[in-house]
């Protein structure tokens, strides 16, 4: 009789190459997704040692962070960004790695295109030089972010020394109320356990509200696991997962599909498996959430006011130009951003368009909609969402990380206040001195139209 295991244990055990003497494990890596920012120095490591890529077929590359989201039929105007994207393409050509071209149909944000391409599969180990790699855990994938040196190690050796995390289960009981989304679940959890609350843990998300989420919602939830300190967020694969994957490019077909499916069904945590920490959150009590500070755990229901008397918040509130006791509902904004690896998928754009169709972007507000991938953009256009956004005064852009990271053309000026669907409200994240309020796509669309933060439920 084997010991009861969690999903994380099963994924881990299936990838052990060797055990070190000191608790480190050499873990096999099945898939590596590359982008232009975290890999120039990784390829240099290979060149220094004169090494090839061990299994080029397990690697896939795309440019997303530094790319412009406008005038994509023109050469990239910023010479540094142009050189960085060209370097990725040249490195991939030299080392035999498939590169999804900037002007091709497959381009998009790494964490949007991985699942879309069927490059992300249940049961595999998956890495990318980006902290939001936790996103892919939505498929029951052992996915985690790594640094540039580790990207080089994976390319050359297909394995990494890792320390196994402890297990945390976050159970969302009950069903979400209308107008409340996976983004609000993620923000509520981070608010409850803190920005370092899950350091050293792998989170498995469970409960009725998680099972009811679409794959898009599950990806949003897992995406933000890192904002609670966990490198890994997981949802057990189920019929929703399999239905999403079936027939996608790179997904096993025929007898391979049947064999893979049989394996994937064995992955969910055993019913009697135990976790090191359990967190329970009542999903039916979650209101739409909004961040007020400069860390994702400085977050509140939109109906609440900035906390009073907390001295440790003084620095964040000074940066955000907010006073203790100030209501979040009604706070004026001047920018709105819908997109990113957190909320740049088709379901996110549908939710935002449903609100955008009811009005027009307020005077003095600049609002951007940036699809997460070319496929998302084409799907949205087929459904007429682009017309809804454009008619409502939103800018309709090409795919990329855009205003989530501000290392491309999309940057906010100092002092700008932005309602954003992205994942980080750090100082300077959307531009030096810019102020970010994280919220769901529907909440951002509502803020864009009203010119101020509002509870989207009052617009029903």
């Amino acid at each position: 009789m084997t010991m009861a295991r969690t999903l994380y244990d099963k994924l881990w055990d299936a990838h052990v190459v060797a055990e070190g003497a000191d608790g480190q494990t050499l873990l096999y890596v099945d898939r590596h997704l590359l982008h232009e920012v975290s890999t120039p120095q990784s390829f240099e490591l290979l060149r220094e040692d004169g090494l090839p890529v061990h299994r080029p077929a397990t690697q896939l590359a795309v440019a997303d962070h530094s790319v412009p989201t406008h005038d994509r039929d023109q050469p990239i105007a910023d010479p540094q960004a142009a050189a960085q994207v060209a370097l990725l393409e040249a490195n991939c050509a030299q080392f035999g790695i498939e590169y999804l071209a900037l002007d091709g149909p497959g381009q998009g944000i790494v964490h949007v295109i991985g699942p879309e391409q069927g490059f992300t599969l249940p049961g595999i180990s998956f890495v990318c030089g980006d902290s939001h790699s936790a996103t892919h855990g939505a498929f029951g994938t052992l996915a985690f972010g790594i640094g540039a040196s580790e990207c080089g190690i994976v390319m050359a050796a297909q394995a990494l020394w890792q320390v196994k995390a402890k297990r945390m289960r976050v159970t969302f009981t009950g069903a979400l109320q209308p107008g409340v989304t996976a983004k609000d679940m993620a923000l509520a959890m981070i608010g409850q356990i803190g920005a370092s609350g899950a350091v050293g843990y792998a989170i498995e998300f469970a409960g009725e509200a998680v099972r009811a989420l679409s794959m898009e919602g599950r990806m949003t939830l897992c995406n933000m696991a890192i904002e609670a300190g966990s490198r890994t967020g997981l949802v057990a694969p189920d019929e929703t997962t399999f239905a999403y994957l079936k027939g996608r490019p790179r997904v096993p077909q025929g007898a391979d599909w049947d064999a893979a499916l049989a394996y994937w069904r064995t992955l969910p945590s055993d019913t009697d498996a135990s976790f090191d920490t359990e967190v329970t959150i009542a999903a039916d009590a979650i209101a739409p959430h909004v961040t007020f500070g400069t860390s994702p755990d400085q977050v509140l229901p939109v109906t609440a006011a900035v906390p009073q008397g907390e001295a440790k918040l003084a620095k964040a509130l000074a940066y955000m130009d907010l006073q203790p006791g100030e209501a979040m509902d009604g706070l004026a904004i001047d920018h709105a951003f819908i997109g990113s690896c957190t909320n740049g998928r088709i379901e996110d754009l549908r939710a935002a368009a449903a609100i955008a169709s009811r009005g027009h972007v307020a005077a003095g507000v600049r609002a951007l909609v940036v699809p997460g991938s070319g496929a998302v953009k084409r799907q949205a256009e087929a459904e007429g969402l682009d017309r809804i956004f454009i008619d409502a005064g939103f800018e309709w852009r090409d795919p990329g990380c855009s205003l989530c990271v501000a290392m491309n053309d999309d940057r906010l000026p100092a002092g700008a206040r932005c309602a954003s669907t992205s994942n980080r409200n750090f100082e300077g994240r959307q531009g030096a001195g810019a102020r970010t309020h994280l919220m769901s796509p529907a909440m951002v669309a509502a803020a864009a139209i009203m010119g101020r933060i509002v509870d989207v439920r009052t617009m029903a």
């Binding site: 070190g20 049961g123 370092s196 096993p252 440790k312 030096a432």
Partner: protein, 198 residues
């Protein structure tokens, strides 16, 4: 990788909590594709703040950094440890670290040390007072001024790699090439769908 055996010198105190890698290395400088010469960008947007211990343009700092809890959280960007290395920082002490940052440090010959909150508070005071810090990785000790040495923990494998300046890629290939080949053979049998390019 430059070996790290002992590090001696003054320490920089930066007690803020949740100093993320965007603060350590702002995103717009990620367009640079080098890893050397990044010290001047470290904490770039914080340097004008009143009381910040590094002035704009400075590209040299003490070899030890005493930081606040959850230091290096956020983005996986290895430019954060590269920028700190550019300042000459070899050892970073905090109550807790962002996990990817923690792992990245070891890849660049830097030692992150986790200590309890009370000890870190004392070290902030010692750093502020200009006391000399001495780290001995062989003995796993940190000595500040004339105080008794503080013991710290570090994984054996990582300690050995730092002491010897070993590079992970060549080590894994040399010591575990056969293990990897064995794993791959077994996986081709057990999960053949991962070996057909779809």
């Amino acid at each position: 990788m430059t070996p790290l055996v002992t590090v001696t010198g003054p320490a920089l105190s930066l007690p803020d909590a949740d100093v993320d890698t965007d603060i350590i290395y702002p995103a717009r400088f990620l367009l640079i594709t080098e890893k050397k010469g990044l010290g001047r960008y470290a904490f770039h947007d914080r340097r004008d703040a009143p009381g910040f211990p590094l002035a704009p343009g400075i590209d040299q700092a003490p070899p030890v950094l005493v930081a606040g809890p959850n230091f290096g959280c956020g983005s996986s960007r290895e430019q954060a440890p590269w920028a700190l290395a550019g300042l000459g920082i070899r050892v970073i002490i905090a109550e807790s670290f962002g996990e990817i940052f923690f792992s990245n440090c070891f890849k660049n010959g830097q030692l992150p040390i986790r200590l309890d909150v009370a000890t870190v508070e004392r070290l902030h005071a010692a750093a502020g007072a200009g006391l000399p810090f001495a780290i001995d990785l062989e003995a796993r000790t940190l000595t500040v001024g004339n105080d008794a040495p503080i013991l710290f923990t570090v994984d054996d494998g990582r300690r050995e790699a730092l002491l010897n300046g070993w590079n992970d890629i060549s080590r894994i290939r040399a010591l575990h090439g056969a293990d990897i080949a064995r794993f791959e053979q077994a996986q081709q049998q057990a999960a053949p769908w991962l070996w057909t390019k779809g």
